[in-house]
């Protein structure tokens, strides 16, 4: 039985669970399953056991730091970890060992987590799934021939398989919510500015968000509370106190806007995905919320502004290496970065003018609405070998609109499709309503019962 973070925290506090034994169980699962899942690209066993022993000493002394003390986690390999290799899953940085932790890594360390290692990612959070990198791409634990989505691919796979209880992700166009959706777990892209990005390899700074993935929304709330907070050295960090993460929300008087056009017309989803969205809406209605239909700008408009912004900013980050050593990138990333290099200054500025227009229209369309509901992914996971290099240009995705807006957005598991793989819904809030978004996810998970089913070991 794999506990959630909330369950493990309670058992550790009651001295009914040993952090050392919990870490050893996770390490045993990694040894057994990682050869097929490729979720970890580095396992830090000695560090994990040292962290766990320290947590256990605090447990025995009655000096636990909080709910994350003794909890096994791992970091996406774009998060800097002091003294531990951090590569971006790329040959470009294959031997890089940072001297300092990322701000969010340090915050979790101070909260007492047990670090099990570094997790697979799409190369620099943009290029994948790739088979020409120093490490293979992560596989979906529900079916190892299937895609995890990306770019937080290792985190999605490792959490779903119970190799860790939670982990970090980053989300520039859907890189937390995509893996959460296809791996059947929870993952939140927080409000822009809530979590520091300092010490995380950048992809596109005006869209980059740091956030957690875990088995449940409740666990995401615990993890997010420990990584949120103002960082004066991150220019994107908001100088305001983090919101409360109270999962006991009152639903009467709340209005939930279903963005039907996105998942029914702009990009029609699978029958199982649609059923999950409808059931999620019905759960919130049965708790007292009012359902309304909301019309936002089209997915195509959001995706045009989003992908031009992302591609141009990513090119700026990687321009030098793309000119001097492009063959050290994998083919997928090299191609996607090159496309950004072909954009003009005018293209980028037009995307930013459109972005302001999209933000204004989205606020106007959602006045009086507390939360939004649509798809997180169109269907179950595709076969990993069939994922197109240009997928983002072929069909609009459901996640990048909320990177452009900076609004908090959560992927929750809503059931299983015809192929037996998970499907998901996306719950979105207004800025700084991260707590309400997680409360909705928590209520939905408690009602739909899908947290009882894990992938086959």
């Amino acid at each position: 039985m794999i506990p959630t973070i909330a369950e493990a925290a309670r058992l550790i506090a009651e001295r009914r669970l040993s952090p050392v034994e919990l870490a050893k169980e996770c390490l045993a699962r990694i040894a057994a399953q990682n050869p097929a899942l490729h979720a970890f690209i580095l396992v830090t066993e000695e560090r994990a056991l040292a962290d766990a022993r320290a947590a256990e000493a605090r447990q025995m002394a009655g000096a636990l730091k909080g709910p994350l003390d003794g909890i096994p986690i791992a970091h996406k390999d774009i998060y800097d970890t002091a003294g531990i290799r951090t590569t971006g899953h790329s040959a470009q940085l294959q031997e890089r060992v940072p001297e300092q932790d990322a701000v969010t890594v340090a915050k979790w360390r101070e909260a007492g987590v047990v670090l099990l290692g570094k997790l697979a990612t799409h190369e620099f959070a943009f290029g994948g799934p790739s088979f020409d990198l120093p490490w293979p791409p992560a596989r979906n634990p529900w079916d190892t021939e299937r895609f995890t989505a990306g770019s937080s691919s290792g985190t999605g796979a490792a959490v779903a398989a119970g190799l860790i209880l939670g982990g970090t992700g980053s989300d520039t166009g859907g890189s937390i919510r995509g893996p959460a959706a296809l791996c059947g777990i929870a993952g939140i892209k927080p409000s822009y500015g809530l979590c520091s990005r300092r010490g995380i390899l950048p992809l596109a700074q005006t869209l980059d968000h740091a956030g957690p993935l875990a088995w449940t929304s409740e666990d995401c709330a615990l993890l997010l509370a420990a990584m949120a907070g103002h960082d004066p050295l991150d220019p994107g960090s908001a100088d305001r106190p983090p919101p409360r993460f109270d999962l006991a929300a009152e639903w009467r008087g709340r209005r939930i806007g279903v963005i039907r056009h996105m998942h029914e017309r702009d990009h029609p989803v699978s029958p199982a995905t649609l059923k999950g969205i409808e059931e999620t809406a019905e759960i919130l209605r049965s708790l007292g919320a009012e359902l309304v239909e909301v019309t936002l700008p089209s997915l195509a408009e959001f995706n045009a502004a989003g992908w031009v912004t992302l591609s141009a900013e990513a090119w700026a980050v990687h321009e030098e290496w793309m000119r001097t050593r492009p063959m050290r990138y994998g083919e997928f990333l090299r191609a996607r970065l090159a496309l950004g290099g072909l954009l003009s200054a005018g293209d980028y500025i037009q995307a930013q003018r459109r972005r302001r227009d999209l933000i204004a229209r989205s606020f106007a369309a959602t006045e009086g609405v507390d939360l939004l509901l649509t798809a997180a992914a169109p269907a179950e996971a595709p076969r990993i070998r069939e994922v197109s290099k240009w997928a983002s240009l072929e069909k609009p995705n459901f996640t990048i609109p909320f990177n452009l807006l900076g609004w908090p957005a959560l992927s929750v598991c809503t059931g299983f499709g015809e192929g037996g793989l998970p499907v998901a819904a996306q719950i979105v809030g207004k800025p700084w309503q991260d707590g309400l978004v997680l409360a909705a996810g928590h209520a939905v998970e408690r009602a739909n019962g899908h947290r009882a089913r894990r992938p086959p070991a």
Binding site: T206, N303, W307, V308, E331, A335, L339, Q350, R354
Partner: protein
């Protein structure tokens, strides 16, 4: 779908950006570039008002 740029014109675009890729990757990129062109057209349809501001405004005095 928009027509891809002619290969010679596309090669000039790559050279201007300082990008050197294997020939087989250039052709795939040329096809993808046509899809990107559709997104770029959508950004400009309808054209924004002359005074439309970008999402992030420069504000003097706020520091770097």
């Amino acid at each position: 779908m928009a027509e891809p740029l002619p290969p010679q014109e596309f090669a000039l675009l790559l050279a201007r950006a300082g990008i050197s890729l294997p020939p087989e990757e250039v052709e795939s990129l040329r096809q993808a570039h046509a899809k990107l062109a559709e997104m770029l057209a959508l950004l400009r349809a309808p054209p924004p008002p002359l005074a439309a501001e970008p999402a992030f405004a420069f504000r003097a005095g706020e520091g770097a």
